[in-house]
């Protein structure tokens, strides 16, 4: 009964967060949906091990991320890292806004980042996770969390400045 309640009250409500993370990795909603369903089933099937897991939310995020990465490596998806040239010069903020596609906009802003940097950036800046929570979600040391976040923010800053200069000229 305790496990049932935990799954209902803690895990199922993570669906939105997991879906956005999966979407940022896979790039399409159907794949993202499959990823989250697989992740939830995986977590449910391991419910007898929950007592040994210190942070269940982090475990869920890690599970979803791993499944998403497996999925795109199987599909040989090119969204893991889009070339910097494509993103620097193809990013038109006004056009992206008018497209009305949240996914398209976020892809254009973060698509040029390596997956690890992008995931750390989204977990921190979009989902509002603490460094400790990101450590548990990605199973990487604190130092790596900070380095990846720093590099992600610096690249995004440069991209936005370059795009701004490009469209002003």
């Amino acid at each position: 009964m305790r496990q049932d309640r935990k799954f209902k009250d803690m895990i199922i409500p993570l669906a939105d967060k997991l879906f956005r993370l999966a979407l940022s990795i896979t790039g399409n909603k159907q794949d993202a949906e499959d990823v989250v369903q697989d992740a939830m089933l995986n977590v449910w099937q391991k419910r007898n091990e929950w007592d040994r897991i210190s942070n269940l939310e982090g475990y869920c995020i890690r599970s979803a991320r791993n499944i998403a990465l497996d999925k795109i490596s199987l599909k040989d998806n090119q969204l893991v890292s889009i070339s910097e040239k494509d993103n620097f010069h193809s990013f038109d903020p006004e056009k992206a806004q008018n497209d009305g596609e949240q996914l398209e906009i976020i892809r254009k802003i973060t698509g040029h980042l390596p997956e690890k940097q992008r995931t750390v950036f989204l977990l921190r800046d979009m989902e509002g996770l603490s460094y400790k929570e990101i450590i548990e979600a990605m199973n990487i040391p604190e130092e790596q969390v900070k380095i990846n976040l720093f590099r992600a923010r610096q690249k995004i800053k440069k991209m936005l400045e370059a795009a701004d200069n490009y469209y002003k000229d």
Binding site: K8, F19, Q102, I105, I109, D125
Partner: protein, 156 residues
């Protein structure tokens, strides 16, 4: 806020400070030269609006036993079980009483039973004697009726 923004790029801000920055960029007081950075915060806010399809929650819910999904089922099931047991006990009790009424002895003392039986037999006996007297009377009447020729022969 400029100083906060600079610290943000260097990852020197806390979660609360980053939240303040997001709120500031969502407002109308952003200077022109900083508006280029607004897009990233706006994009993050917009992307966060995305919700997972309802099918995900529905499927996950299906892993749970129905009784967890609908707690009132627990109460209903308990009441049903209690009522069923109650009906079963009552029915069994009723059957027992019926059978007792048919087969059980009504007298705890055998002597009382004998006396009662004798009294019943006496009643039956006296009834039979009365019936015999009636029959005998009827038979006598039938003898008179059987001698009509002798009476008719006598002439005037």
């Amino acid at each position: 806020m400029r100083e906060l923004l600079e610290r943000y790029w260097k990852c020197e801000t806390s979660q609360d400070e980053e939240q303040k920055l997001r709120e500031w960029f969502a407002g109308n007081g952003v200077p022109e030269d900083l508006k280029k950075y607004r897009d990233v915060f706006q994009a993050l806010d917009d992307f966060k609006e995305l919700k997972a399809p309802a099918s995900i929650s529905r499927k996950a819910q299906s892993y749970l036993p129905a009784i967890q999904l609908y707690p009132s089922l627990k109460i209903a099931a308990s009441v049903l079980i209690a009522v069923s047991i109650g009906i079963g006990i009552y029915t069994h009790y009723q059957q027992e009483e019926f059978l007792k009424g048919v087969f059980s002895e009504t007298y705890s003392d055998p002597q009382d039973a004998i006396k009662e039986t004798q009294a019943v037999l006496d009643k039956i006996s006296s009834s039979l004697l009365k019936a015999k007297d009636c029959i005998e009377e009827l038979q006598e009447d039938s003898v008179v009726i059987n001698e009509p020729e002798e009476l008719i022969i006598e002439e005037e």
